[in-house]
């Protein structure tokens, strides 16, 4: 599968996972709607995989999306304290599920992968990922979200 197809596949997986796991609908984000570097208040997580091949997926989302996703996943109000506390957990789990669904779509359902534990990204990483030309940008309930993939 070439890089363009992988990007399309990833976008499709993200849309399905966000809808099925977090009841969040996504849409392609217009270039003109992308946040400006240095002005985007975002939280990021990454997950590294190994086995059949190695790589890392990273996800950044506008702050506030994490609470929204957690609230949806838990069936509670977005303003509830539980939603705020569990937002980062929700981002990590969404990334985890995206990776788990992306890899079989790209490599088939036979290869075995070892998925690492999702980790919070340092803010210093944001600009690099925002400028990744292969990044997949989506809009999710009014929040910008970007995914990047590094594959070995």
């Amino acid at each position: 599968m070439n890089d363009v197809d992988k990007k399309t596949t990833l976008a499709g997986v993200i849309g399905r996972v966000f809808e099925d796991a977090a009841f969040v609908f996504t849409d392609v984000l217009d270039e003109s709607d992308k946040p400006a570097a240095g002005e985007w208040d975002a939280e990021g997580v990454e997950l590294t995989f190994s086995g059949h091949c190695t790589g890392t997926l990273r996800m950044w989302a506008g702050r506030g999306f994490a609470c929204y996703a957690a609230a949806n996943m838990l069936g509670i109000d977005e303003e509830a304290e539980g939603a705020r506390e569990k937002g980062m957990d929700a981002l990590k789990e969404l990334l985890n599920i995206v990776v788990g669904n992306y890899l079989p779509e790209v490599y088939g359902d036979k290869p075995v992968f070892e998925l690492g534990l999702p980790r919070k990204l340092p803010p210093e990483r944001l600009e690099q990922d925002m400028n990744d030309p292969a990044g997949v940008w989506l809009e999710a309930e009014g929040n910008a979200v970007v995914f990047t993939v590094d594959e070995g």
Partner: protein, 128 residues
């Protein structure tokens, strides 16, 4: 008879999501016991019987595979059906786990119907 179910995952949020999904199945559930990894699950299983265990694979300290192995090595725990709940989608991995005796595999994201069906497959129906 209502079910006692154990949910094993290192994420408190995900355990809460699974518990919420269990509540949406319509099945009679007496108690949902949370464990944050395989070691925690084994400690709790030594003190309390559960009808079925749902466990993630990828957890720190004692992961899901080691949990299955440890339960298989215990005369009483080996009777408890274990269902893997995971994001991993490799059929090769699933087959390896089935050879260890797991009773089901739920690939995330899963629906209340999917978790209900695996409970009924393993524990049978209930008297309403």
């Amino acid at each position: 008879m209502a079910y006692t179910i154990m949910v094993v995952d290192d994420s408190e949020t995900i355990r809460a999501v699974v518990e919420r999904t269990l509540g949406m199945t319509g099945l009679p559930i007496e108690e949902v016991i949370h464990a944050e990894n395989g070691r925690d699950a084994l400690e709790k299983l030594r003190g309390k019987w559960v009808d079925i265990v749902f466990t993630d694979i990828n957890m720190p300290e004692v992961d899901g595979v080691r949990l299955v192995d440890s339960m298989n090595a215990d005369a009483e725990m080996s009777e408890i059906p274990v269902v893997i709940v995971s994001t991993e989608g490799s059929t090769t991995r699933i087959e390896e786990l089935r050879k260890k005796g797991i009773k089901g595999y739920l690939h995330k994201p899963f629906t209340p119907e999917a978790i209900r069906d695996v409970i009924l497959e393993n524990l049978g129906g209930w008297d309403e």
